[in-house]
């Protein structure tokens, strides 16, 4: 079986994968929210960290716990929890980003009697001069907390090996993304999202091996003919179906600014310094940020513009999750910057379910617009 198919299977069966991993390793699984949790620490302590994703199904179970104007990611995640899909998870870790996710984390811990739950601050003004010391200390407290939970110490050598593994993993993902800069990318946007999602759901060493295999297999592969090269921006989005939907109308997603995408692995490697916690915090502060963490200095916009140039993007689709405040704030500013550059832009407001007919019309019109511009 080729690597891509294996990775896709893991995404499709991520709960079964995690349960099998537990059996195989006699280990614990921690659900993590947001991309600011230093998974390297969990890995070094023998824990499988899995990113909490939601389902894209009508929700009829979450309203006693969270209000109906919470984003689809949160309602979908909470629905999965309440339906018992995450029953194998013993620990929860939340690196604070948005209040919606905080509610899911709290409700989960309260309603399901989780064995271990830990949350910590991540600077919002990530470029201030004291953010690094603070985040390093927060990571330190987090590490101590996990140690207390497991009753074992974080071994420096093992931690260093975990960091090396994660560095290698991120580098491979960067290489796979870089292949999409070519005229005929060997991998589609939806497939790339699955590759990243798999990494958030499985053992990092196994994922790294599969990435190596994938890199060996991709040359010579080609995706079907496409009408336009697209970039996706937006809220937390693990909706592979939506990306497939967009690509089914001739768009090829060649890059993204999504936390289930380039924001997850971007930002370079962790330096293997003597103070590894600080080095880890440095990487997490310098990573591509979501709007919530992109003050005072706006670092998100130049990065997006650079990606547009590097990947020769012809159109940008902003997948704005309904009720997502951070992105609703940034949207007009981003749009204005892209308008200045003449980049064709489309906003799709997403929710648990997709209005297929309406979106099809809009995506088709968007493709026509790009083609008209290009010609």
């Amino acid at each position: 079986m080729d690597a891509l198919t294996k990775l896709q299977n893991i995404v499709a069966n991520r709960h079964e994968y995690a349960q099998n991993w537990k059996r195989r390793n006699n280990g614990k699984v921690a659900g993590v929210f947001c991309i600011y949790v230093p998974e390297e620490i969990l890995h070094a302590l023998g824990i499988l960290s899995v990113r909490v994703f939601g389902s894209r199904e009508p929700d009829d179970v979450t309203e006693p716990y969270i209000t109906s104007w919470w984003c689809a990611h949160c309602r979908g995640s909470m629905a999965e929890v309440l339906k018992g899909k995450y029953s194998y998870i013993e620990g929860l870790v939340y690196a604070v980003s948005c209040p919606h996710i905080f509610q899911v984390y709290n409700s989960w811990a309260r309603q399901k009697g989780i064995e271990y739950a830990y949350d910590f601050s991540v600077p919002e003004n990530s470029c201030n001069n004291f953010a690094l010391d603070f985040l390093s200390a927060e990571f330190g407290d987090f590490a101590h907390s996990v140690e207390a939970w497991l009753g074992k110490k974080l071994d420096k050598e093992v931690f260093s090996q975990s960091v090396e593994l994660f560095n290698r993993n991120r580098q491979l993902l960067e290489e796979i993304y870089a292949l999409r800069k070519s005229d005929n990318p060997p991998i589609s946007g939806s497939e790339s999202m699955e590759v990243v999602m798999a990494g958030m759901s499985m053992d990092k060493a196994e994922h790294t091996q599969l990435l190596q295999q994938l890199l060996a297999e991709l040359p010579g592969r080609a995706v079907p003919h496409h009408r336009a090269r697209l970039m996706l921006l937006g809220s937390e989005n693990d909706d592979v179906g939506m990306v497939k939907f967009i690509e089914s109308y001739g768009g090829l997603v060649v890059t993204d600014d999504l936390c289930v995408g380039s924001r997850y692995f971007g930002g370079g490697p962790i330096a293997l310094d003597s103070d590894l916690l600080k080095a880890t915090a440095t990487r997490y502060l310098n990573r591509p940020h979501c709007p919530q963490k992109d003050i005072v200095e706006r670092r998100r916009i130049p990065r997006i513009l650079q990606q547009i140039q590097d990947y020769r993007v012809q159109g940008v689709i902003y997948l704005l999750e309904k009720f997502c405040e951070p992105h609703a704030y940034d949207l007009p500013t981003i749009k204005a910057e892209l308008d200045k550059k003449g980049i064709t832009f489309l906003i799709l407001e997403t929710d648990l379910t997709t209005p297929v007919g309406q979106f099809r019309t809009r995506v088709e019109a968007f493709m026509d617009l790009i083609e008209a511009k290009v010609s």
Binding site: T67, E124, N128, I295, K335
Partner: protein, 440 residues
């Protein structure tokens, strides 16, 4: 059900509160006219810190919020302006009213028509939307932005983090304003703020008495000077007078509304354009007596079981305030002793809300499900469940605190009436809703 009738009297200090509020905004234009320092933002968590700027002024993110919110058409125009600029309706409705003023050119315009250019934006990131609003204002007005991260957990590194940011922020402000920061005024500001916060907590505790000297509609407005000018001596004088009046009212069993057949909690924000909803229980001889947001001010010692106790006066803490560093450390200490209304402090809310209902001797209450404030809604449904599990009947209604398009007066009043009736209450002759006597 308590059918005792108590004596009631107007609150004597009330006109002073109104005067201070008027002064706050008038002061903005006077300061601007004199060439003083005007800044923008919502710096409420760290007002003592700003005292070192001297005679500075700040009109939040615009001076006309109250005026807008009293006029539904003006509010809607404001909100639609925001939407026309590409933002969605899902953002905080308070911030949208401010952002609307920005886009309409009102945020920096005086009633006389002159325009001010604030020196900088100052924003504390205890609310995620305020932080992004600060960014937006900074970009739009082309003025620098000083953002202070205020973590939600009170840890040694969190305190050190905030202290360091503030110390560096002083140098930053001196550079931006071209004016020397006054350490003596900082020290005075922090000491004043500490006293004011202690007094407010002590006053709030008095509302645990039966009868309560004030209901929630009273305290909602009485706290307003704390929101905007807590570090000023005028506010301290006001709070001292309010404290004395409160003790007198308690000693003489002076009631807020004359009856307390049932004491009720009201959690969440009320719709600001329909603030009289806080007086609805009066028709049934009841009062709303407590709300988490009112405890967001005050110096509190919050116990693990959710009990709110008045914190230590400054002189009993042993904290010295002799220089800039010590004053900043005390300011940060104070910031971590306020009520837990921060967006991020959600974990203990569901048990604090139950303890609060018990301590304020409530029998039931209402939760306002506010589509306009996501931060405050964190854990609100868990709070509802916890209250119900503890035996408190809970009524709910949906609204958006500053977007009147998301509120139905008729439906909400009807829904609340049904809830009150379900508690075995009936309307009493001669007890009717009065028009709200104060602005928000």
């Amino acid at each position: 059900m308590n059918n005792t009738k108590y004596e009631t009297k107007p609150i004597e200090i009330w006109p002073k509160m109104k005067e201070l509020r008027r002064w706050h905004f008038k002061h903005t234009w006077e300061t601007a006219a004199k060439g003083g320092t005007v800044i923008m933002g919502m710096p409420e968590a760290l007002l003592g810190f700003l005292a070192g700027l001297g005679d500075y002024a700040y009109p939040s993110y615009g001076p006309y919020f109250t005026r807008m919110i009293k006029d539904v058409s003006a509010t809607i125009e404001c909100l639609e302006t925001v939407e026309a600029h590409g933002h969605t309706k899902d953002m905080c409705s308070v911030m949208r009213v401010y952002i609307g003023q920005l886009y309409m050119g009102l945020a920096t315009k005086s009633p006389q028509g002159s325009t001010i250019k604030p020196k900088f934006i100052f924003q504390v990131t205890n609310c995620h939307t305020m932080a992004q609003t600060g960014q937006l204002f900074s970009d739009y007005l082309g003025i620098p932005y000083l953002s202070i991260d205020l973590p939600y957990k009170s840890t040694p590194q969190a305190r050190k983090y905030v202290v360091n940011q503030l110390l560096e922020g002083i140098e930053w402000m001196e550079k931006v304003t071209g004016k020397k920061y006054d350490d003596e005024k900082l020290i005075e500001g922090v000491k004043t703020e500490w006293k004011v916060e202690w007094l407010w907590a002590a006053i709030q505790m008095q509302t645990q008495n039966i009868p309560s000297p004030y209901d929630l509609r009273n305290t909602w407005s009485l706290r307003m000077p704390l929101l905007s000018m807590r570090e000023r001596p005028e506010t301290l004088q006001y709070l001292e007078a309010l404290y004395d009046e409160t003790k007198w009212r308690v000693a003489n069993q002076i009631s807020a509304r004359g009856m307390e057949r049932m004491r009720l909690f009201f959690e969440g924000f009320p719709p600001y354009y329909y603030i009289q909803i806080l007086k609805q229980p009066e028709q049934y001889g009841c009062i709303y007596v407590i709300n988490e947001n009112n405890l967001g001010h005050g110096l509190w010692d919050i116990r693990p079981d959710g009990t709110y106790l008045v914190g230590q006066p400054l002189e009993k803490t042993g904290l010295p305030i002799r220089n800039r560093e010590e004053a900043i450390e005390a300011e940060v200490e104070l910031a971590f002793h306020r009520g837990r209304t921060s967006t991020w402090y959600s974990a203990p809310r569901h048990h604090e809300v139950v303890k609060r209902a018990k301590d304020w001797k409530c029998e039931a209450g209402v939760i306002a499900l506010d589509r306009g404030c996501h931060g405050y809604q964190v854990s609100i449904m868990e709070s509802k469940k916890a209250l119900q599990e503890a035996g408190f009947p809970v009524g709910t209604f949906e609204h958006s605190q500053s977007d009147p398009r998301e509120f139905s007066e008729a439906q909400t009043v009807d829904r609340m009436e049904s809830f009150f009736e379900s508690l075995g209450l009936e309307k009493l002759a001669g007890c009717g809703p009065e028009k709200a006597e104060a602005d928000e």
